[in-house]
């Protein structure tokens, strides 16, 4: 099988215009981008040796995969529906995997059409309408709830858990509760781990050195995948092969290195701070949302200064970061804005902005070469050219042609893009894509000089939420000041 390929000619000067992209010599030994890459790789190895990058080792953890697969097999045959209760990194990866491999109508299929694998739902948001309607629709006697939280303390997920536990108890009795729950959480600490011990609920571990947005190849993603029949061996084999490619010390041979170095350079050297991710396949919409979290939450933060990041290039094309100059005491942070898009749909939405708007964007396309069925377009209406010229082609060909035309139109406008080429959407290629972006995020973190593994900026909101819910409690900073009369 052909590995996932990264095509990067359309970000480089020769194809894009000499002022529009780096000279390829920058990628060779001794070149500026190569030097940055090497420093970032050193930082990655330092973090790996410090035991911080558990996600790199997940493809080798056959015991964990087997444990997850066996639990999935033993549960899968009993249940008609599995609900993954988890938000952010606890849901996005599993959903990306399921959408890519199951297609858009899985839950509308009959039992036979699903080969008796369960329906698969994701309860992410603390939205009362969605939560209530989903719970009302399910036959709880035939439903398994996989409650996922790395820390075990995520407020949205615990609130939904309390509602689910109550419903299970009233419909199935105390004994029913336990048999319909499966937790995925830290192996030793946190409220969910405590509950699992107390109530004898089976619980899969998330290795402590695997953070939420890097957990798709842990039981967080593996359990939901296995329960609907995804081949875990293929998924992990794809991830393993890509990991090995991404540890290549040569920039020109390292897809994650090229992705991270070129996207970072587009931002800091050319002010291209919006990183668009645009697969041409409905099945990859979930992957685009997973990317958005990985890229945004790993890189959008204040530099620690401990990284090996090169300083911002003084090239006037870059411009100052708007935040960096507002108020001497608070320079703002760094990090690209990840924008999830979908081709060809968003040619009718965002392409106008990509073609004619500010030159502050770089697009990463995903091209899927083979489809299950290309879907021929019948020849018809010979007198109507708008129709007849489409006949004889296939819908797959039209979609792929639109992708190639969009890449080319951007290139002619001097607007950069990268393309990830994938032979087929299967477990193996998904494993490759997940690993590629995860390594790229760690390398990009080093390039930006930030810690890609933390998310300190969300803590204040959490504390304020608890303070507003429980004004007399110990936590929280109290309610915000009264709204003033600025409203219409």
């Amino acid at each position: 099988m052909t590995p996932v390929t990264l095509c990067y000619g359309n970000v480089l000067g020769p194809l894009l215009g000499p002022d529009r992209g780096p000279d390829p010599a920058a990628l060779e030994a001794g070149g500026e981008l190569c030097r940055r890459f090497e420093a970032a790789m050193a930082e990655l190895h330092r973090r790996r040796e410090a035991g911080e990058l558990g996600f790199l080792d997940l493809p080798d953890d056959q015991a964990l995969a087997r444990q997850t697969g066996e639990l999935a097999d033993s549960f899968g045959q009993w249940f008609e529906a599995v609900v993954v209760v988890g938000i952010g990194g606890s849901g996005l990866g599993a959903r990306a995997l399921a959408e890519a491999l199951l297609g858009p109508f899985w839950n509308e299929r009959s039992d036979e059409e699903r080969d008796h694998f369960p329906r698969l739902y994701f309860l992410e948001n603390a939205d009362p309408d969605t939560t209530r309607e989903l719970l009302d629709r399910l036959d709880l006697r035939r439903t398994l709830f996989n409650v996922v939280s790395k820390s075990g303390g995520t407020a949205e997920t615990l609130a939904q858990y309390l509602i689910i536990e109550d419903r299970l108890r009233s419909e199935l009795g105390e004994e029913g509760v336990r048999g319909h729950l499966l937790f995925t959480t830290d192996p030793s600490t946190g409220p969910l781990r405590g509950l699992a011990g107390e109530r004898e609920v089976p619980a899969l571990p998330v290795p402590p050195n695997v953070g939420g947005r890097f957990s798709v190849l842990s039981p967080v993603g593996l359990l939901p995948a296995a329960v609907v029949g995804v081949d875990l061996d293929q998924l992990l084999d794809g991830a393993r092969r890509m990991r090995d490619r991404c540890l290549t010390p040569s920039l020109r041979g390292n897809p994650a290195g090229l992705l991270a170095t070129l996207l970072h350079a587009a931002d800091v050297d050319r002010g291209q701070r919006v990183h668009v991710f645009m697969p041409y396949s409905d099945r990859l919409r979930g992957l685009a949302l997973w990317f958005q979290q990985l890229w945004g939450e790993s890189l959008g933060k204040r530099p620690t200064g401990s990284g090996s990041s090169p300083r911002r290039d003084p090239d006037p094309g870059a411009g100052p970061s708007p935040g960096d100059v507002q108020g001497p005491g608070d320079p703002g942070g760094v990090g690209p804005t990840p924008l999830a898009a979908l081709g060809a749909v968003d040619q009718h939405s965002l392409l106008q902005l990509l073609m004619d708007g500010p030159r502050d964007k770089v697009v990463t396309f995903v091209r899927v070469r083979e489809r299950d069925e290309p879907l021929p377009i019948p020849r018809s209406h010979p007198h109507r050219p708008a129709l007849s010229r489409l006949g004889g082609h296939s819908l797959a060909e039209l979609l792929d042609t639109e992708l190639r035309a969009t890449v080319e139109a951007l290139r002619r406008g001097g607007r950069p893009s990268l393309t990830l080429e994938v032979d087929r959407l299967d477990a193996h290629s998904l494993g490759e894509l997940f690993m590629l972006w995860q390594v790229a995020a760690v390398l990009a973190g080093a390039l930006y000089g930030v810690n890609p593994l933390d998310q300190p900026g969300v803590e204040l909101g959490k504390r304020l939420t608890l303070g507003l819910l429980d004004p007399g409690g110990e936590e929280g900073d109290g309610p915000p000041p009264d709204d003033p009369q600025w409203s219409v």
Copy 2:
């Protein structure tokens, strides 16, 4: 019923910090933002008098709404499923409306649960997997295809039409084709209009002065809404009332004026070019995608110079536009990057970047005050504070508290936000929201000095697509140059 309210205190200097937002005096008569607004309103009135802004008059076109409603009634009772075949502006508005009002599980409900209204599908992308699977799943004898294209010549939609026509003919015979099609297109020109005449297919008109992304209140959005029972009178009444508010000559009384003026000023005066739209309701995810197209495609372009746009402010906080300084011959264009987000989900994805990343963003939240059912969180597990502190609240309260906490956390960081407050998600409030943003887009177009009604940047991609599909044909610029060996 309470009208939709725009709260804008959290973009202004007094609440955000004096260096972080405009002084409220700028909004008063004679102030800088008020002057910009008045020039933009003059431009809006000029366009309206020139007959360019047909969307403003749609709420008054009772004949068109009645025609649409009657057609929907006559079709609705015959069909078990309605498929809207349309891309971009031909699908996003109708989908936003359906998702907001029908909720997430409409198509999984039984006939009785849907009150015998049809299931509603959107076939947007030219994706062969989705298209084939949907067509395979439908009972074509009970399915209506609403093919929507303003121009009548959209390649993706016509390709899908040819496939559908062929399937209808082979399953139902020549007579069957006609009875299962309904077009929505230009009243007099284009391939779809021609076909409608030739084959006696019923066809609803899109008024010629209503562009695709401004067409949700025309039959483009009304037919799919009416067919599933949405109250068109309420929808149009909401739109009419909001339109009248948005024509108020005073800035402080004009919600679209404030929205456009404050978001434009955030960009050009402070470099806050990423405009995040973040409703706290799963049902408004479709509205966020609709906003993304409206804002991106209306504003992302090269200034015409004919607008009444103020020049960019020399405030050093703004920084040069990165595109503006790259290559003297091609200055790049203007326009914010619209980013669709969803609360509280994206607190676990994008909030880190919003809190700690570059100060180049402004967020517009949507708060829904009332829910069908708040969904109480049971009191339980008194010894586990992470669980027990949630009990006694409701999921609606948790979600709303998270919204308020996020607004406040951003404000404390000096990061601006606006909030649209909506009492309930119903046809009336959706009509208000659609009209509010459409008027705001026209005003913002005037502020940026661009034509908000065109999309010239997508033409090259279309020509290249046709050239690649039919290299011997008259259209197209031929294939792109061969790929070089920049790949890994």
